[in-house]
């Protein structure tokens, strides 16, 4: 398949002109080659600082096949009062008798004053009848709120917020009006899958009821991911959550109540280049412990059994990288994970002291 691209640009434009351009480009392309069809999966609205527009655009390019059908990239520029727009219609020429997909990207340069009424600018340029996801990686909460009526899903990254507490509050606020896809939560997916698998065989499953300690290791700025992982365990295993306290290692310590039994919890920041979690150790009071730690080609697993025997091995899996995480975030717009909200609630419970102090 050979790629192609149609382009339209206009300075000091308006939403109607952008919408006309989209329709016109689509008609022209289809008239020239009727084996090309527009992808119709998802609208993605991205609100970014103008200076970071290129970087975010590159990140979106790298998500590969999880690219949204129509992306509307709103770049906020200090002092701007008018709209400049650029429409790119990219397509692959079909090969072997198939069809080729057209993907549309609309870039609109806006000013800060446009943020509170962004819905009036964006609404006309969305593809109709498709779910719409909003991603605002540089804050601009005002824009997210303004777009609420158009929004089905909000993509956010709790690890990117100044603190886990603020991140969880923001996620809870947004989840009242839209479905939340949290990249911090998606960074825990392989860990959740592996923990679920590790405790799935009948000879291991009983150990879930005997967990005495959980320690999660994370890169310094990924405390939200770590708390969400522990929140997930707590919500799935029915533990009563109590607030964690700060420890001397810049981490968090505390306990959960597993039906009258204490489960010691520890969240530890460690030095790690890649974002997200570094490792997790789950131990029972009976002498069983399982550790999973990030390593080349997968997770390094270490198990210690009550009889004193130990095993180490590698659980295979390639890292998805941040592009993979973002792509997964876009894909998740079409799915619903019923376990995030309870995990978020538990994670907020772990931060309860801080939240109370703030109030």
């Amino acid at each position: 398949m050979s790629p192609g691209e149609d382009l339209w640009t206009e300075r000091d434009t308006n939403p109607d002109a952008i919408e006309d351009a989209l329709r016109e480009l689509l008609h022209e392309r289809h008239a020239e080659n009727e084996t090309l069809a527009p992808a119709r999966v998802l609208n993605l609205i991205v609100v970014v600082d103008r200076d970071w527009k290129g970087e975010v655009s590159n990140r979106l390019q790298r998500v590969g096949r999880y690219h949204a059908s129509r992306t509307v990239l709103c770049a906020v520029e200090e002092g701007r009062t008018t709209l400049d727009a650029r429409v790119v219609m990219a397509y692959d020429e079909p090969g072997d008798g198939g069809i080729g997909l057209i993907r549309e990207q609309v870039e609109i340069d806006i000013g800060p004053e446009h943020l509170s009424r962004l819905q009036t600018i964006v609404d006309p340029v969305l593809a109709r009848e498709l779910p719409t996801m909003v991603w605002s990686p540089h804050g601009h909460d005002e824009a997210v709120d303004a777009l609420a009526e158009l929004t089905d899903v909000v993509l956010l990254d709790s690890d990117e917020q100044p603190s886990a507490v603020e991140a969880f509050e923001r996620a809870r606020h947004i989840s009242r009006s839209a479905y939340v896809v949290d990249l911090a939560w998606l960074r825990t997916t392989p860990w959740r899958e592996r923990l679920a698998a590790s405790f799935d065989p009948p000879y291991r499953r009983a150990a879930l009821a005997e967990i005495a300690t959980v320690a999660v290791r994370h890169r310094a700025n990924a405390a939200a991911s770590a708390l969400l992982l522990v929140g997930w365990l707590s919500s799935r295993l029915g533990w009563q959550v109590t607030a964690l306290g700060n420890n001397d290692d810049d981490g968090l310590d505390g306990e959960a109540d597993a039906d009258g039994r204490d489960v010691a919890l520890k969240i530890e920041p460690v030095s790690q280049e890649v974002p997200g979690l570094a490792g997790v150790t789950i131990a029972s009071g009976e002498g069983f412990s399982l550790s999973l730690d990030r390593g080349p080609g997968g997770l390094h697993a270490h198990v210690h059994r009550p009889d004193g025997s130990e095993s180490e091995w590698r659980v295979l899996g390639a890292s998805r990288g941040e592009a993979g995480i973002l792509g997964e975030g876009v894909r998740q717009a079409l799915l619903r994970d019923p376990t995030y909200a309870p995990a978020l609630q538990a994670a907020r419970g772990f931060c309860a002291v801080v939240l109370k102090e703030r109030r």
């Binding site: 592996r194 799935d200 799935r236 080609g297 095993s311």
Partner: protein, 513 residues
């Protein structure tokens, strides 16, 4: 230590919400590990599962074949196959991790020592893992070795394992006719329980085939008309523009009927016509398929001539290039009577489908590569537009496109713009590619994972395989007995033999390829 009430021992509370279901620690043994299927499909599929982190946390692989390889030599072969055929670019660390522990056992499949060695290696792996490993034996050999290996596994005590599950995956073809399929079932089921047996047909692992179920049972729109009252006839086509691509050894024995009709096309027919199962649990779905297949009454041998047509391609032009006749393909008997084209008319004897003809056709070296199901509805009872010259009104057709583009197309009558009420058919098309972001996983990846997880939904059960052969067997018998009448020929690159039209009822027509 107290046990938390929230944790029920019989269920895993960590699983809900996860897309990937847990797979228990497994040791997989591939018999025929040096063969083409293993190198092109199985090893790359296993690598891709490893790459995506979906293999079990403990996964061990053993290759068994006749070639005299060392562990190291086989690992090198496996590595180069994965590097060549994997759909994702291999990550060196993941590839090393997968390859480094592979064991290889050389020997003949009927040699008891091979199985002693296998037992020893499996025990070592279990010891090293410090936990029980499920055992999956994957038979990727020539079909004549299937009963040999199953029997030998039983003799060696490898068919059951007290600590964990043992499963056997058997590649197609499962038998070459009804009798051989029954014999193979008998041999396998003397050693293994049916619940341990996974008869694989990779076609069932394709997303398109599973989408058939979603199309039928997730949409209220079609179900009310999905019966004899509204459907006039159904056509299933699996056309290829290529020839036998150097597979004369297999194809000369198999022919088009065994190659595609007995398995893929009848599976498509079954999924298109089964009653809605209460759930998609393996046996409920398979019960419905067996019920449907048993409702297709096999023809009597003497009636085959009126419901089946076979033919063979002769010289022709495909895609602008001259194509040689089948009998001149390398390895093909110059007097071969093997059919490269088969067309059938089948009927389903039940309340839903009685009287509706199902036309199936498949062939090599046809005009184009195309797999589709076309459901033609009956015409409207009264055509009010006739007096105004609406010659273009045609019955509605629902087309389920499988290849090259997966999708659904519905033909509708629409008014031609203008002062008069003239009608012509238009298509309302839906392409999966425009509406989903995900790439379909390779069928083998899905099926290998299902077998390791013990989900038999997409595998063929013993009674199902016998029902499939039961439909085809009389046709094979009739064609086998008929050694005198000349085999029909069709030009390579054509629509197939004109004789296929003789199967059609009045008013019906084959869709142009």
């Amino acid at each position: 230590m107290a046990t938390a009430q929230a944790v029920a021992p019989e269920t895993n509370p960590l699983v809900p919400g996860l897309e990937r279901m847990p797979v228990h620690p497994t040791a997989m043994t591939i018999f025929g590990a040096t063969g083409d299927l293993a190198h092109r499909k199985l090893l790359p599929a296993l690598y891709n599962l490893a790459h995506e982190g979906t293999l079990p946390e403990r996964f061990e692989l053993i290759g068994v074949a006749r070639s005299e390889y060392s562990d190291e030599a086989f690992r090198d072969e496996a590595r180069s196959s994965i590097e060549r055929f994997s759909r994702t670019k291999p990550d060196p660390d993941v590839l090393d991790g997968l390859i480094s522990s592979i064991r290889y056992i050389p020997g003949s499949f009927d040699d008891a020592q091979v199985y002693e060695k296998l037992e020893q290696v499996l025990s070592e792996m279990r010891e090293e893992a410090g936990q029980p490993l499920n055992r999956v034996f994957y038979l990727s050999t020539a079909p004549q070795f299937f009963p040999v290996i199953a029997q030998a596994l039983g003799d060696a005590g490898l068919a059951k394992f007290e600590e964990a599950q043992t499963r056997i995956v058997i590649e197609k073809p499962f038998g070459s006719d009804l009798d051989s399929a029954r014999k193979l079932n008998t041999t396998v089921l003397e050693v293994f329980d049916e619940s341990q047996v996974y008869r694989i047909d990779h076609y069932l692992g394709k997303e398109t085939v599973q989408n058939l179920l979603a199309f039928r049972f997730a949409n209220a729109l079609f179900e009310p008309v999905w019966n004899r009252n509204y459907i006039d006839y159904v056509q299933i086509t699996a056309a290829e523009d290529i020839g036998i691509e150097g597979r004369a050894g297999y194809y000369e024995h198999a022919g088009a009927l065994r190659d595609l009709v007995q398995n893929h096309m009848l599976q498509l027919l079954a999924l298109l016509t089964i009653e809605p199962p209460a759930s998609f649990e393996a046996n409920r779905l398979r019960n419905e398929k067996v019920k449907l297949l048993e409702a297709i009454l096999p023809p009597k041998v003497r009636d085959v001539r009126s419901m089946a047509v076979r033919a063979q391609y002769e010289q022709g032009v495909v895609g602008g290039n001259q194509a040689a006749p089948y009998r001149e393909e390398e390895g093909v008997d110059p007097h071969s009577r093997t059919e490269t084209y088969a067309a059938l008319r089948l009927e389903i004897s039940n309340w839903r489908w009685a009287g509706v003809p199902f036309y199936l056709r498949t062939g090599k070296r046809l005009a184009q590569k195309l797999t589709e199901i076309v459901v033609t509805l009956k015409p409207v009872p009264h055509l009010a537009f006739q007096s105004q010259g609406s010659v273009g009104v045609l019955p509605n057709q629902v087309t389920l496109m499988v290849q090259p583009d997966e999708g659904v197309s519905v033909s509708l009558g629409a008014k031609i713009p203008g002062p008069q009420l003239r009608i012509r058919p238009v298509n309302m098309e839906f392409h999966y590619g425009t509406s989903f972001m995900s790439q379909s996983p390779e069928a083998y990846e899905r099926l290998i994972l299902d077998a390791m997880r013990g989900d038999a939904t997409l595998f063929t059960r013993n009674d199902e395989i016998e029902a499939l052969w039961g439909i085809i067997d009389p046709i094979l018998t009739a064609w086998h007995r008929d050694t005198r009448s000349p085999i029909r020929l069709y030009p390579a690159g054509s629509q197939g033999p004109a004789a296929a039209n003789s199967l059609l009822r009045p008013g019906h027509a084959w869709r142009r390829l």
